[in-house]
Amino acid sequence: MKLKLNKTTRKNFATYGVVILAYVLLQVMKGSLSSSLKGMLVPICAYVVMAISLNLTVGILGELSLGHAGFMSVGAFTGVTAAIALQNVIPAAPLRLAVGLAVGAAFAGIAGFLIGIPVLRLNGDYLAIVTLAFGEIIKSIFNNLYVGIDKNGMQFSLLSDKTNLAEGGKLIIEGPMGIGGIQKISTFTAGFILVMITLIIVFNLVNSRAGRAIMAIRDNHIAAESIGLHVTHYKMMAFVTSAALAGAAGTLFAMNYSTIMANKFDFNTSILVLVFVVLGGQGNMLGSIVAAAALTVLPEMLRTFADYRMLVYAIVLILVMLTTNNATLRSWFSRFSLKNREKEAA
């Protein structure tokens, strides 16, 4: 039997395969993993989802976003708030996590839509700078937001705590202190499922009619417009999807720690995720996954270097960038994959 699959489909299935294989391998080896690696499994999943979602904006849509951590922040805060508020309503942790993820994704999607209205009318550098500003705005808002819950429902206030909660009420978001006392309900399995869902959404979007329109806009904005594509509409579609996925990643990430602060999701985090995308290759989802996982684990592996840790990290990063862009090595790799293809054909 011969399965005729085109190149993209084959590549997509290879990506699913790698993720599933990694998950199965890690599950099998669970007993022998170090606590250090075990503790990083969930954050790795969250960063992988972040990298894939940013790759949708940067690689597929072709717009540079420097505020992606902002969406992660929206997802983290809203998702965790929902999970805490529903603590007594939904006792089953996995279900509560799923609801939290959905709420986080929804709010981040809404934020993406609102931000997209002015932002997506811009191009190139302007868009990068405006997204950067939005990331900072989101950070400032959460640094000044107070949300509490009591028997009368949710109470909100800005700048200082004026929620005046009734007896038995609980302050969830405490301004600069962020959220504390989070129940850690994120699991590696949940993270794996989220990565798979993200991949399915992104691959299906890219392979659809809308996806081809998005890439046409990336390749030539004017040509795409001249054949009647609604540019803002398609840009918005990619941008909101990307934001919503980042929101889900944020919820997953936040639910893995007992405390979360708005300052965590700053410009540095946005750049970190952008580094994953650039290193893995723009438009290359498998590359993003590998880069996100490797660069999350790397600083921990370098702990033996003590004080020189961050210096070594930077040098390794430069080396990796140099080698992956080295023409000789690239042609060697491509020769390798060509041979494989010939073997498959034979």
């Binding site: 170090s34 606590s35 250090s36 075990k38 503790g39 990083m40 954050p43 400032s140 640094n143 000044n144 700048l159 301004g175 600069p176 202190m177 962020g178 504390g180 006392g181 850690k184 720690y257 007992s258 405390t259 979360i260 602060m261 708005a262 300052n263 965590k264 600083p299 921990e300 702990r303 033996t304 270097f305 003590a306 004080d307 020189y308 840790r309 961050m310 210096l311 070594v312 040098i315 390794v316 430069i318 080396l319 140099l322 080698t323 080295n326 023409a327 000789t328």
Partner: protein, 388 residues
């Protein structure tokens, strides 16, 4: 192409040589003479980044105590600090690395938010933790095996208000605080609550945040216009140093009152100590104290690290000695598991009294909060002098 490879080779060599450096650096601390008979003591703190002053101070203080105790014979410690860059995520990673190393008792984390994150982990893993300086309430809340060596933020706020009211230092009070900082906010909130209770009048309450912490003219003129005669500054010393300089340029000279974060202002590089003349602060540790133990510690610290120890260093030092006392009293041995030690330590810490550099007769309640009395200090002629 040859050039590129040469570049790569060079970079490789650099990495390798650095690796060699790192290895050498590591050797004396990990290859301690005691081997398996030592208690494995681990902690995380910001050893790099913006808050590195605090992490390194606590680490250095603890290291001095460990070396002194190991030299005495008897109980032996092996100390390892991992960098958390003042980030809860990295703190959990650092904590897990310490667990792989074989940590039996923990020094928690140096700063508040990271400590909140690691405290949840130590609670789940049943490893006893005593933090030198993570002062927020959430750190110890609901965890029976998490204890603090420093004051809790709320206690500092109410103690300051009490002190100001008792000594009638001011009648109209202005507060400038940092609204995106847990430490500053914790103290501000309890200060205002206590001030209202004691009938102190707060005439101006202004804030700043990360990113706009260089110009304080708005906050200072607000305080001046309101006629404040005492300005309360619950913050670390860097912004405070700018406030003093700008107030002096404006010709505004109220009384200044700070908390333990102000400690260190006199040793700050490029700061004119004359500006801090007359500043009052509450702090548990005074490096200029005449006390024998403090003198010895300050001398040793200066010899090793070439700077005056701050309160964080003293807290780190005290933590190790408190552990020594508790372990001895409990008759604990290094072959006990972390969980066994955890049970013993909870028992000891809730019942013992400890005398250290940062206070005499310290006791802990079951919640993990320490009870010790803050010392009022005033800066006179460029030195801290006890207020009383």
């Amino acid at each position: 192409m040859k050039k590129k490879f040469a570049c790569l080779a060079m970079a490789m060599i650099m990495v390798l040589s650095l690796a060699a450096c790192g290895g050498k650096e590591e050797a004396p601390s990990s290859g301690s003479e005691s081997g398996a008979a030592a208690f494995m003591l681990g902690g995380t703190g910001p050893l790099t980044g913006g808050a590195a002053i605090y992490g390194n101070a606590a680490k250095n203080g603890a290291q001095i105590a460990v070396d002194e105790i190991n030299a005495m014979g008897g109980i032996q410690f092996e100390l390892k600090y991992e960098d958390d860059t003042h980030d809860p995520e990295k703190a959990v990673n650092a904590y897990n690395a310490l667990k792989d190393w074989g940590m039996q008792i923990s020094l928690g984390s140096v700063t508040s938010k990271p400590c909140e994150a690691t405290a949840a982990e130590t609670y789940a893993d049943r490893i006893f933790a005593l933090t030198p300086s993570a002062s927020s309430t959430a750190t110890t809340e609901g965890k029976d095996n998490m204890f603090q060596m420093c004051f809790m933020d709320p206690n500092q706020g109410s103690a300051s208000a009490q002190y100001i009211a008792d000594k009638t230092l001011g009648t109209k009070i202005a507060i400038i605080w940092k609204n995106d900082d847990v430490y500053s906010k914790g103290i501000h909130d309890t200060f205002t609550a206590k001030a209202a209770e004691l009938g102190l009048e707060i005439v101006s309450d202004t804030t700043f945040a990360d990113g706009n912490d260089t110009d304080f003219s708005v906050q200072l003129s607000d305080a001046q216009k309101a006629g404040a005669d005492l300005v309360f500054l619950p913050m670390y010393y860097q912004p405070a140093s700018l406030i003093f300089a700008q107030a002096s340029n404006m010709g505004y000279a109220p009384k200044w009152f700070g908390v333990d974060g102000m400690d260190g202002i006199l040793t700050m590089e490029g700061f004119d100590a004359a500006l801090a003349e007359g500043v009052m602060l509450l702090t548990p540790f005074n490096a200029d104290s005449d006390d024998e133990a403090t003198k010895a510690f300050v001398a040793e610290y200066q010899k090793r690290f070439n700077e005056i120890p701050n309160q964080f260093a003293a807290d780190g030092y005290d933590c190790v000695y408190a552990y020594k006392q508790a372990l001895e009293a409990a008759g604990a041995t290094p072959d006990m598991s972390a969980e066994e030690l955890c049970g013993l330590m909870i028992e000891q810490f809730t019942s013992m009294t400890f005398n250290g550099l940062t206070g005499d007769g310290m006791t802990w309640d079951a919640s993990g909060a320490v009870s010790k009395s803050p010392k009022g200090m005033v800066i006179e002629n460029g030195a801290y002098v006890g207020l009383d």
